[in-house]
């Protein structure tokens, strides 16, 4: 066998061996072990910059008004959790007795997954009943569809009352 072939094979083998190691490490890198990291803020921001040039001035003012009057926190005003506040930062808030709820209600009259509160595309906060046993009440009216929450309106879930404040 010529010297050249053997040299090429020798270096080629080392290269292939290292390629395997690198591929294996890449597999580990992409194998993030059951978690998914979502950049909510950046995606929302990206969406804004895309819609702004198209929508022009007409869509901008309502957003501006909304921004000024937007609630910043959720306050529990009645029930065992009275006084608890949760900052509203664009995330969905789930309420219920289930342990993975954002606000875990220790309330016999609340369902495991009772209701959720989330911002819609314009930034209005919406409350939606998740098929609870005893229903969710917004200002005495039982919710049937997802409804925007006025500032300061009481939302009743079992014995617990929450409201949105600035």
């Amino acid at each position: 066998m010529s010297e050249l072939t053997l040299t090429v094979m020798r270096l080629g083998f080392l290269a292939v061996l290292w390629l395997f190691v690198i591929v294996a490490v890449q597999v580990i890198r992409s194998d993030l072990f059951g978690t998914r990291v979502t950049q909510r803020g950046s995606r929302r921001g990206g969406g804004d910059t895309r819609t702004q040039p198209q929508g022009g001035r007409q869509t901008a003012p309502p957003q501006q008004r909304q921004r000024r009057g937007a609630p910043t926190k959720l306050v529990v005003s009645e029930g065992t959790l009275t006084g608890t506040t949760v900052a509203l930062q664009g995330q969905t808030i789930t309420l219920g007795r289930a342990h993975d709820s954002t606000i875990v209600l220790d309330d016999d009259y609340a369902s495991s997954r009772h209701a959720r509160i989330y911002p819609d595309r314009d930034g209005n906060w919406i409350v939606e009943d998740l098929g609870s046993t005893n229903g969710t009440y917004l200002d005495r009216a039982r919710l049937t569809v997802a409804t925007p929450i006025p500032l300061g309106a009481p939302i009743r879930i079992g014995k617990t009352v929450i409201e949105l404040r600035k």
Partner: protein, 474 residues
């Protein structure tokens, strides 16, 4: 949305099972040894080796069976363990075949045993048995937690396995260490299997006792000193490993056992003081034993200065030759089949196989091999982190810790970092027990990682015991 926030959400997703990634890596892991095989053939005989197709098909078939069983019975298992083990095993076969071609080793065998028999076919057979055991583990061990029931039985079994080589009539004193038994013409090294069995005992024992070991301790000079009754087991294991060392002259296995126990103790209790205590005890034990065991003393002398006693002692000559083969390999190596690592003569294809890697593949190759081993250990530790039950966690970390210690002890020994001990490089070295036991080890790790990575069962509809009370209009 009123405020653009930079909230990141971390949520669980449906894990891909990654079986196709595994298959792809597995194909890669079969192709590399075939390439190496062709390279050795071209370098030694100047032509492609005749058995190349059969060898490639054989390795591919074994890997394929392994993959099929994992796909069928351990769907969510780690995608890297099987390809890494297959690659190391395949390359080990090539290196053993390469050393079979050495005339020096053939002459040595003829002088010693009257005839030379190549080791590579045997190794291929043992690999097949190993894969069969791997398949058996995956088929029979549906849930690793069943092993928890055998905590104390496995302790007894491990002790029996360790004592077997000293039993007269059964044990065989080979080359100064009594670690083999011969059954029906086969020589078996029970220590390799005892490694797995004792990990079951340690994991089961520590799972129950870890709170007592971690919390009931006095603080003294920055160290948490455990109570006497908690220190009992570690002292017993220490004494046991010393006894192995004295009766069987097996430095490696005793180091492996003691090291594995200290690692698992540390993981179970999160107390650094166990590591300090363990290191002190192992150093003390080694010094004492080196004083009155001639076999160990010779190894220590060979480690301190192999070239001082090069001509007088066989142990020194081996280590010296090994160091020279690492040195002549340089950074890129001499190329497969073109080195002279067969000058080590005795045990060139078992304990000293890593010297062949060092000479023929150079520093680059040695690093790649160490990384391959490191990846197996990393996946084992990752499995331990992801496991949901404490027994699985301790078991996985114990097995990967034992694997890591074994590699450190062997690689460190042939490189002259620590005194040489008679242990085999997992998957690489010629030796049936080692290959078979390590395939079983990989099988258990795959089973634990399958359980660990399996998506969690959906939470019960109502996590609270009582039902939601209905408001009745009064």
């Amino acid at each position: 949305m009123s405020v653009v926030t930079n909230t990141t959400t971390i949520g669980a997703i449906e894990l891909p099972s990654r079986r196709n990634t595994e298959l792809l890596l597995l194909v890669f892991a079969v192709v590399i040894p075939i390439f190496a095989y062709a390279n050795v053939g071209l370098a030694v005989h100047g032509k492609l080796p005749p058995g190349m197709l059969a060898y490639g098909l054989g390795l591919g078939l074994l890997a394929g069976i392994g993959h099929f069983v994992v796909r069928r019975y351990a769907k969510y298992a780690d995608p890297l363990l099987l390809p890494l083990a297959t690659l190391l095993n395949g390359l080990g076969l090539v290196l053993i075949w390469r050393l079979d071609q050495s005339e020096r080793l053939q002459n040595l065998a003829e002088r010693q045993f009257g005839a030379f028999s190549p080791s590579a076919p045997n190794q291929l057979f043992y690999t097949a048995v190993g894969i069969a055991l791997f398949v058996g583990v995956l088929l029979l061990l549906k849930d690793h937690r069943t092993l928890q029931r055998f905590t104390y039985i496995s302790m007894a079994a491990a002790l029996v396995l360790l004592i077997l080589p000293v039993v007269p009539g059964l044990g065989a004193d080979v080359f100064g260490a009594k670690i083999w038994i011969s059954v029906a013409g086969f020589s078996i090294q029970p220590g390799e299997f005892a490694k797995i069995v004792i990990a079951v005992f340690f994991a089961g024992y520590l799972m129950v006792k870890r709170d007592a070991l971690a919390l009931a301790s006095r603080r003294f000079m920055g160290l948490y000193l455990p109570r006497g009754r908690d220190l009992g087991p570690i002292l017993m294991i220490w004494a046991m490993s010393l006894l192995i060392l004295i009766f069987e002259n097996d430095l490696g296995t005793s180091l492996l056992f003691f090291g594995m126990f200290v690692i698992m103790l540390y993981v179970a209790t999160e107390r650094t003081s166990w590591i300090v205590i363990g290191l002190l005890m192992s150093v003390g034990g080694a010094v004492v034993v080196a004083g009155f065991s001639g076999h160990v003393e010779a190894r220590v002398n060979a480690w301190l200065d192999p070239f001082a006693c090069y001509t007088t002692s066989g142990a020194c000559e081996q280590v010296g030759q090994s160091l020279m083969s690492f040195g002549s390999g340089g950074v890129l190596g001499t190329g497969l089949g073109q080195g002279h690592s067969d000058l080590i003569l005795f045990a060139a294809n078992s304990d000293f196989i890593f010297s062949t890697v060092g000479e023929e593949l150079g520093l680059a190759g040695v690093m790649a091999f160490l990384l391959l081993y490191g990846l197996i250990i990393e996946r084992g530790a990752r499995t331990a982190l992801a496991a949901r039950d404490p027994f699985g966690k301790l078991f996985a970390i114990g097995l990967s810790g034992a694997f890591a210690i074994q590699i450190f002890v062997v690689a460190g020994g042939v490189m002259g970092l620590i005194p040489l001990t008679g242990m085999t490089m997992p998957f690489l070295a010629s030796g049936g027990s080692s290959v078979i036991a390590n395939w079983a080890l990989i099988g258990i790790l795959i089973r634990i990682s399958d359980t660990a990575r399996r998506p969690a069962p959906a939470p019960a509809p109502s996590p609270d015991a009582e039902m939601t009370q209905v408001v009745r209009p009064s």
